[in-house]
């Protein structure tokens, strides 16, 4: 069995799976249940100053479902902790004492003045918590009051507040980033420039999950009105992966600690975030749909995968995929693939044909010799992978590399050498061509 123990900013946990700052980590009873279930750590739901905020009494969540009600994602309009600050502090202290081997990090969101941050940091430090996470991410409610993503969208504010925090606490400081910006590298650079020990991302995405067409109001609806909420769950994972990767390979931030968040549901999701440079991961939505017990599968699945790959510790694969993230212009234009349909696996649904015929390159037959049969026409196939995407049978359609001969589509011989756009004759800015 692989060793899943994780150390993030000096904070130890028995596994890299933390619960993100959110309703599941709102109070002692939940966190205790989470630790009993096996979670390695928690980021306590965001604390603010007294008097505590209040939540609406209407629905807080709006879901996106498949036809059989699998949850693809949901959004929320819940605010930060709506309990008195001291209650939270007392519970954090009790939990940390009861579970010394687990990570307890506290999420914070107070107004943008140094005194407020200084004050709350001292109070958190007194609980014995392992670290703090600055909530610069929440896109709803709090942002209207100049906090949350209102800070996260201005790199100068991020840097300023992070500096205050580093100045006033000995605890590690994690900065949680909002994805509701155009270039994630700028807030990340600002956080590290302010002295952040790590960034965590992504927080939720601005969203309206659906519109009630009877009431003509967005969901979730309170008294006929709805406001945008923060979108999370499996649907946001690709966005999160890209943002993590952007930071992991940016020259200014490369190699700095990242805590990956965004739709992690199963062990493979976690492994992907870690391969892209996240030293640990935080989970929320999956737990909110299935309960804390999912951590058993996360731990076991990651463990078995690591064994199968010969990884003994998680740091052996964290960031392993980062060198393979490339700019488009550096992709090898001489690498040629053709779709291949395994006729044994093909169930003849015809979706590859019609997808290719209507929307791509007319490279898949509908019939061969008058019989229903879906076969790739290599002379038309550009290897785009759309057929494999639409195919309902796993591994039925694969992309097979041509390593020799002539590409029947282009009529050009397969070139075994690497060649990219930067040197391509069609590129007006090409370099290195005569």
């Amino acid at each position: 069995m692989a060793d899943l123990r994780a150390e993030f900013l000096g904070i130890r946990s028995p596994n890299p799976f933390w619960l993100a700052s959110a309703p599941p980590t709102d109070r002692e009873v939940n966190v205790t249940r989470a630790f009993k279930a096996g979670w390695g750590g928690v980021v306590w739901k965001t604390l603010g100053l007294d008097p505590h905020v209040v939540n609406i009494n209407g629905p807080r969540y709006g879901g996106i479902h498949s036809k059989d009600r699998t949850v693809a994602g949901f959004n929320n309009i819940e605010l930060i902790s709506d309990r008195p600050l001291q209650t939270n502090l007392d519970e954090i202290k009790a939990v940390k004492q009861a579970w010394p081997d687990r990570a307890v990090v506290v999420s914070l969101m107070v107004p943008c003045d140094e005194a407020s941050w200084k004050g709350i940091l001292a109070q958190v430090e007194a609980t014995g918590a392992d670290g703090v996470e600055l909530n610069f991410g929440c896109p709803h409610g709090m942002s209207e009051r100049g906090m949350g993503s209102a800070v996260g969208q201005v790199p100068e504010y991020i840097e300023m507040v992070t500096k205050w925090c580093k100045k006033h606490t000995r605890m590690p400081v994690i900065v949680k980033l909002t994805p509701n910006i155009t270039d994630i590298r700028l807030p990340a650079r600002a956080a590290y420039a302010g002295g952040a020990d790590a960034v965590s991302l992504i927080n939720t995405l601005n969203s309206i999950t659906s519109v009630d067409l009877d009431a003509m109001a967005p969901e979730p609806t309170t008294d006929g009105k709805g406001s945008h909420g923060g979108y999370c769950g499996p649907a946001v994972k690709p966005i999160a992966l890209n943002m993590v990767a952007e930071i992991a390979r940016d020259a200014e931030t490369r190699g700095r600690p990242i805590s990956g968040i965004g739709g992690i549901t199963e062990w493979k999701d976690a492994a992907e975030f870690m391969a892209l440079g996240a030293a640990n991961v935080q989970v929320c939505t999956a737990a909110m749909i299935y309960g804390f017990r999912i951590v058993e599968e996360l731990i076991d699945g990651l463990n078995n995968w690591m064994d199968s790959k010969g990884y003994e510790r998680i740091d052996q694969f964290v960031g392993a995929a980062v060198p393979n993230i490339s700019e488009w212009q550096h992709l090898n234009l001489n690498y040629v693939v053709k779709a291949h349909i395994d006729q044994e696996l093909c169930i003849s649904c015809g979706r590859c044909h019609i997808a290719c015929e209507d929307t791509s390159h007319q490279a898949i037959t509908q019939t061969v010799n008058g019989v229903r049969r879906f076969q790739v026409k290599d002379e038309d196939c550009v290897g785009c992978n759309l057929c494999a995407v639409t195919c309902p049978v796993e591994n039925c359609i694969t992309m097979v590399q041509m390593t020799e001969g002539v590409d029947p589509r282009s009529g050009q011989p397969i070139n075994p050498d690497y060649g990219n756009w930067t040197t391509h004759p069609n590129n007006p800015q090409a370099t290195g061509v005569g």
């Binding site: 498949s66 036809k67 059989d68 009600r69 169930i347 003849s348 649904c349 015809g350 979706r351 044909h353 019609i354 509908q366 229903r372 309902p392 049978v393």
Partner: protein
């Protein structure tokens, strides 16, 4: 076959009225909204879908299922009914396992087709429950058509023609329309008076008048109809039943399955019907299964379907055979009836010869005989067209001969459903006949084709 007991053990009330009602209740209850959507989600929305090709009425199955998935149930029902006005009944009685569901690509990927029939019922039932209409008639053309027979073929043709603006009169021999949907299909396949509700929906379009108790050759004639109308569509079904041609066939307890089912379907309290303790059904089609299962459900103790050929030759589908067997009906294959034995005018047993096919595929009866005791023997050995009333038409194998457009040997007479040569004895095929004929009749009336 068990110990001998008194012959003629036929009695009503073998089950209570409540049990009868429950036993003859819906075989496959209507899907709930969630079940329908989850099942609809399994449809892969195939291109040039095999299920659509397999449907005799070419329903756009992927489209209607997608409409269910997207909560456009009315749209789904319209897609179905546009191709098959009896889509509601077909959803209940089609042998989908040998039609659309047999070719569903999900069979290949996971051995379970999308439940197309049940989804079709979900869509059509919801439309009927809503009371909404989806079709409108074109402007009146002033043309009138006689449709003889108010079963699936006749009503399908009538609806298509009425939509085109023609005036249709349906002449129905029985006291009410519906044909085999109303009189000939097992009760558990079509509960809650569905056949009549479907007729009401069809007639609700307008332009269709149904005249009951009008039997061709009795109070109406083909000649008169040709005089009175611009065109005639014959959908007279098969009114005659085959006989075994055996002595003692007229013994008490030897019954015609078709007539008995008609009686059962019209019975207010089926538990009052006389039911044999030991029942033998002779035949291998859907009617044989329908009568065998219903006998069992009405309290028969011992029910055997005896068929002179093998399982592969049975007209009853594999699904129907299984339905019989799971209801405790025995299926005895390679059993050719040779003699009915009676005692005191009552049937006592049926004697069978063990049979097989020779190399040329011809049925051969051996000398090895055996008997099955019976209080009731049902004949379910096929029906015949009563051709006397249509003697002026060209026939083929005892049925009315038609061309691809369902036109008979008379230029103004068309025919479809079970009464035509090549008829498949399926509701869905009859509906298609009606559609095809209506198209041809419309062309004939408007273009003089």
């Amino acid at each position: 076959m068990g110990t001998t007991s008194a012959v003629g053990d036929i009695a009503s009330g073998r089950v209570t009225p409540e049990q009868a009602a429950e036993n003859l209740g819906d075989l496959h209850p209507l899907y709930t909204e969630h079940q329908a959507r989850a099942e609809a989600d399994r449809c892969l929305y195939c291109y040039d879908a095999p299920c659509m090709d397999a449907c005799p009425t070419s329903i756009d199955v992927p489209l209607f299922i997608r409409q269910i998935a997207t909560q456009n149930t009315k749209g789904a029902a319209t897609t179905i009914l546009e191709q098959n006005i009896m889509g509601g009944m077909c959803a209940r009685v089609c042998p989908t396992e040998t039609l659309c569901e047999q070719v569903c690509v999900r069979n290949t990927s996971e051995g379970q087709p999308v439940k197309i029939g049940r989804l079709q019922r979900f869509a059509t039932d919801h439309l009927f429950a809503s009371g909404e209409t989806v079709f409108a008639r074109a402007e009146e053309t002033g043309k009138s058509i006689a449709v003889v027979g108010g079963g699936p073929a006749g009503l399908s043709c009538a609806h298509s023609l009425a939509r085109q603006g023609h005036q249709v009169t349906v002449y129905e021999a029985r006291p009410k329309p519906g044909g085999l949907n109303e009189f000939g299909i097992a009760a558990y396949k079509t509960v809650d008076d569905f056949a009549q509700r479907e007729v009401d929906f069809i007639v609700g379009l307008g332009g269709i008048e149904i005249k009951c108790e009008q039997r061709l050759g009795e109070n109406i004639s083909l000649d008169d109809l040709r005089q009175a109308h611009d065109a005639v569509f014959l959908a007279i079904g098969m009114g005659g039943v085959n006989a075994l041609g055996m002595a003692a066939e007229d013994s008490a307890g030897v019954l015609d399955a078709v007539a008995y089912i008609a009686q059962l379907r019209q019975a207010k309290d089926p538990s009052r019907l006389p039911v044999g303790r030991r029942v033998v059904v002779i035949g291998g089609g859907m009617t044989a299964v329908d009568i065998a299962v219903q006998s069992k459900l009405l309290g028969a103790d011992d029910v055997t379907i005896a068929y002179r050929r093998g399982q592969e030759q049975m007209n009853a589908s594999g699904y129907e055979q299984e339905l019989a067997q799971t209801h405790g009906v025995k299926i005895k294959l390679w059993a050719a009836p040779v003699t009915i034995h009676s005692e005191g005018g009552k049937v006592a047993s049926v004697e069978f010869a063990r049979s097989h096919l020779d190399k040329t595929g011809k049925l051969v009866l051996s000398d090895d005989h055996f008997q099955i005791e019976a209080d009731v023997v049902f004949k379910a050995i096929g029906q015949t067209v009563e051709t006397a009333a249509v003697s002026e038409l060209k026939l083929q194998g005892g049925r009315i001969s038609v061309d691809a457009r369902r036109q008979t040997s008379l230029a103004d007479v068309w025919a479809g459903g079970d009464c035509i040569a090549g008829g498949e004895d399926l509701t869905v095929a009859a509906v298609e006949d009606g559609k095809i004929a209506a198209r041809a009749i419309h062309a004939y009336l408007t273009e003089g084709a």
